[in-house]
């Protein structure tokens, strides 16, 4: 305490307030300027993606003028894709795979998290630690042995293989998020419900799920991101065009087409990127909260 006052006295007092305010104002301006530069740099690829998607093949191959701007913007690429049967199939495959993956992963994760956070049994601590550990095992370590496993199940080149495998990417983290949210619910709440004669399913449905809804949204977004965007498993196990999902379909099949199909490819990327961007626009706060909740506690 004496140290604090001693050093405080050493600082010249004059014009302190004014200079602090000015300092803050400059810091704010500097931050805005620097952030603007970063935002511009970070948004170059998405911007160029959109610009290219608005160009015709002729305009791309002509190479006249700045490539950064579409001189004669056209929606032809989008019209082509929307009416293209192959692209429709990729999109449709991605939609139903993602929907099933989200439902499956969330069901598994919520049930397990409820059990692990509330019904503590022998070994529940070991299981939660193990779940977290398997989250750290990346798909690139497992895709070769899984190739054999999937092969023996007869699921090679079958879109259903993703419904089986994507939950392994989503469930550990979703469970981890849900354990965090469920543990933060006061024990008194479910004890009171138990005393009133509520059953476990009732406690889960009527107390835990409503109270932990932000966590459920965060985990759902994570499962969605995995189901929609994962690339390695579909690339390794789906080789024919009719079974492919969006990511692999665009990367593998569209590129094989015309050399100057870049307008179409970028339009496909825009359409593939749109659903996650729309979802994040509305629910980003929940996701960020869920992601950082564990990190900032303690």
């Amino acid at each position: 305490m004496t140290g604090v006052t001693a050093t405080a006295n050493a600082v010249p007092r004059k014009a302190k307030v004014g200079s602090l305010e000015r300092q803050n104002r400059w810091a704010l301006r500097g931050s805005f300027a620097a952030l603007s530069v970063f935002v511009v740099i970070f948004l170059v690829p998405p911007f160029y993606m959109i610009m290219t998607s608005l160009k015709s093949s002729a305009e791309i191959s002509a190479q006249k003028g700045s490539p950064w701007i579409a001189q004669n913007p056209t929606l032809d690429n989008f019209v082509y894709l929307v009416t293209n049967e192959q692209f429709q199939r990729y999109f449709f495959n991605s939609v139903w795979v993602t929907a099933l993956v989200v439902i499956l992963s969330m069901t598994i994760a919520i049930l397990a998290a409820f059990s692990l956070s509330r019904m503590g049994f022998k070994g529940s601590q070991v299981i939660s630690t193990g779940v977290f550990l398997t989250y750290l095992v990346p798909p690139s370590l497992l895709f070769i042995p899984l190739f054999q496993v999937v092969g023996s199940l007869g699921l090679i080149n079958n879109t259903w293989v993703l419904v089986l495998l994507f939950p392994t990417l989503a469930v550990p983290f979703c469970t981890w998020i849900m354990i965090g949210y469920f543990s933060s619910i006061p024990k008194e709440l479910d004890e009171a419900a138990l005393i009133d004669g509520a059953s476990y399913p009732q406690i889960l449905l009527k107390i835990f799920i409503p109270v932990a809804l932000p966590g459920i949204i965060a985990a759902t977004i994570f499962a969605f991101t995995v189901g929609w965007g994962a690339f390695l498993y579909p690339l390794a196990y789906l080789y024919s065009a009719d079974q492919a999902v969006l990511t692999v379909g665009i990367v593998r099949e569209l590129i094989r087409g015309d050399v100057f199909a870049w307008g179409t490819i970028m339009a496909a990327c825009v359409m593939g990127a749109a659903p996650p961007i729309i979802i994040y626009t509305f629910l980003m706060d929940y996701y960020v909260a869920g992601l950082t909740a564990g990190a900032t506690k303690g």
Binding site: P46, M49, T134, P138, P145, V149, T247, V248, T296
Partner: protein, 316 residues
């Protein structure tokens, strides 16, 4: 207090029904833990079947010969270690992961600080804009990078030429391609660091800075003596976690260079894919990806230690 009074009132009857009560309680507890285990069953089946089992199966596979008929011990590993192209993979994987993580962490730290200076509603919009790279599916955004790097249509080169510079073959030479994959990974991953560090910054008590300001600390001193020590844990865990993910990265290199030029940008994952899936040598592919295992296990150990320590702190 409440417990004590009920004990006194119900003492007589409690004695009589004590044995029955204990029995039913035990039964209840047993039923409860059976239910608990049942609720966990899908999770356990999924993880044991599709994560734990394949890990051990990979170890078994890696010790077979190409036709998967004979047991060859560690021959696949020895063979790989003696191949110059695989030595290059090890070098490139380490270079890629370490450089990219350092850059992501630095950039994320700077961005978080800039973001922290902006308070209120504005912050949400800026954060949203900076998160765009992280939200777009990586394989799709990497395609747009590829198109930006395209040898004859590169928009970067057009800009360089416009300013009077020579064109650069972004993916054509070894070091250019290496830098390119690192840049794309940094672009994709820095927003994640930003939001983690921003959350950490928000949790540093404002009084510390006020006290330091009164003591006449400079911005640099505040950073070194307050911000960094307060954020130490979260910096550590994000870096470790990101090292794991970056080491195991696949999408960027696969799409951008597919290992080229001359196999100089292959990572463990993409090389394993080439060897195991595309050339059909499953055992050797399995051994390639298993090289990641000791590195990842070491990193995971440190992550886990930190996470367990933290959850213990939270519960007490």
């Amino acid at each position: 207090m409440a417990d004590g009074s009920t004990m006194v009132i119900g003492a007589g009857s409690a004695k009589a029904s004590a044995s029955r009560r204990v029995g039913s309680l035990k039964k209840l507890a047993r039923r409860r833990s059976t239910t608990a285990l049942l609720l966990c069953a899908p999770l356990i089946v999924l993880i044991v079947g599709l994560k734990v089992y394949p890990t051990f199966y990979a170890i078994f596979l890696s010790m077979l010969d190409r036709k998967m008929e004979h047991f060859v011990g560690l021959n696949n590993f020895v063979y790989l270690l003696n191949r110059p192209s695989f030595q290059l993979v090890i070098f490139q994987s380490c270079l890629f992961a370490i450089t990219a993580v350092v850059m992501k962490a630095t950039l994320g730290f700077i961005l978080a600080h800039l973001m922290h200076n902006i308070r209120g509603k504005n912050q949400r919009i800026w954060r949203g804009l900076l998160l765009v790279p992280w939200v777009i599916p990586l394989s799709l955004s990497t395609l747009s990078w590829w198109w930006l790097f395209d040898p004859s249509y590169s928009a970067f080169n057009w800009t360089l030429n416009w300013f009077g510079f020579e064109s650069i073959p972004f993916l054509g030479t070894t070091w250019n391609a290496r830098i390119a994959v690192i840049v794309v990974n940094t672009w994709f991953g820095a927003p994640f660091f930003m939001i983690m560090y921003l959350a950490a910054l928000k949790s540093v008590p404002e009084q510390l800075y006020e006290a330091a300001a009164i003591d006449g600390a400079t911005a640099w001193q505040k950073l070194i003596y307050i911000t960094l020590p307060m954020m130490r844990n979260i910096i550590l865990i994000t870096v470790l976690y990101s090292l794991i993910v970056t080491f195991a990265d696949f999408d960027i290199v696969r799409i951008l260079t597919n290992g080229g030029p001359q196999d100089s940008t292959h990572l463990f994952a993409t090389y394993a894919f080439n060897v195991g899936i595309e050339s059909g040598n499953i055992p050797r592919g399995a051994s390639v990806s298993l090289f990641m295992f000791p590195i990842l296990a070491t990193l995971a150990f440190f992550v886990l230690r930190d996470v367990l320590k933290r959850s213990k702190e939270i519960s007490t």
